[in-house]
Amino acid sequence: MKEQLVLRVVAKCLIPPILIFGCYIITHGELSPGGGFQGGIVLASAFILHALIHGRATLHQAFPRNLWATIATIGALIFAGVGTYSLLRGGQFLDYGWIVPSHPAKGEPWGMTLVEYGVGLTVCSVMVLIYDMISEPAEDDPTVDEDSA
């Protein structure tokens, strides 16, 4: 679809604001409606839009499939890591008060933001992975040229 001028130009204009908006939703999840899941899906939609316009091969050049799988597991590990950190400091699992020991009430927003980033990373990478797997052409599809898919 990269021969279509309008699609290419509009995608070029839209993808950076979509990425910024996705990070905004994740970061401001505790101040306004939003959070990790919503922001992660909006982030993923920017990558999916790029893959739709310029082809999946360009997406694979920059972000191979194993990288998405790694980022997804890192996101889940961030969540569990925040919980284990407070466990190692002497508190309970996922008790955010131990993140800033001098002032427990300040630790809560820190803990929530870190956790939301972990969730956002996992959701974004899994959604791009799902799109990538489902849009693979069939094995015996003669109309698809594999090198430009």
């Binding site: 889940a76 969540f79 009430a105 809560e108």
Partner: protein
């Protein structure tokens, strides 16, 4: 009947009609498009019921990811459903009617829609709204209560976004404005963690199920 209830019931009638259309249309491409529209109208309904986080998620997930997934599947699977033998399945209607009748009978002694004295609003939820769970003396957050009583938490911005004076300076005193995210990350932190693991497992399952077997790889 207040105006909000009228808008609410109008949207719900539209949603029910869309649901019947999604089920009955024969073209699978049409069903995919109608499912996207169904999700968007459902997001409007959530906004009418003041559930903005749920509306956000429903719009992103239903109208975004589900539609992309369905259209990607239709490439492999084919565009039309086979013509059914009978137009309406009578046994299915009878089963569904009996189940629906039992469920409606079960809702007859539920509290009225919007009742502030309903049991769901009067026990744990009050302490969740004030974000006091675990912060009372004797509870697991006793350290929190001891520090907050030290009167040094009055006017402090507690968001991680920064302590710039243009930030929202408030007397929230260690809590966050969005109650839904607060409940999600603290009170139901285990649920959220394992939900993240569920999404991870779904991604891994997609990778395993849809791997292309290359003919030159043993």
């Amino acid at each position: 009947m207040s105006e909000q209830l009228l808008v609410d019931l109008g949207l719900l009638s539209l949603i029910a009609a869309l649901a019947i259309a999604v089920i009955e249309v024969r073209s699978l491409f049409g069903a995919a498009m109608l499912a996207g529209i169904y999700s968007l109208v459902m997001a409007l309904e959530w906004t009418t019921l003041h559930a903005v986080d749920v509306a956000f998620t429903e719009a992103a997930v239903g109208a975004g990811i589900s539609t992309v997934l369905l259209i990607g599947a239709l490439v492999h699977v084919g565009r039309d459903e086979k013509k059914p033998r009978r137009r309406v399945d009578l046994r299915g209607l009878v089963v569904v009617g009996i189940t629906g009748a039992f469920l409606v009978y079960g809702t007859l002694d539920m509290p009225a829609f919007g009742d502030p004295q309903a049991p769901v609003h009067t026990h744990r939820a009050v302490r969740l709204v004030e974000q006091q769970v675990g912060k009372l003396p004797g509870g697991p957050g006793e350290r929190h209560a001891a520090v907050e009583n030290a009167a040094d938490t009055a006017f402090e911005p507690t968001s991680v976004v920064g302590s710039d004076p243009l930030d929202l300076v408030d007397d929230f005193a260690g809590h966050v404005p969005n109650m839904v995210t607060s409940v999600l990350a603290t009170y139901r932190g285990y649920d959220t963690m394992f939900e993240t693991v569920v999404i991870l497992i779904a991604g891994m399952s997609m990778m395993l199920l849809l791997q292309r077997r290359r003919k030159d790889v043993r």
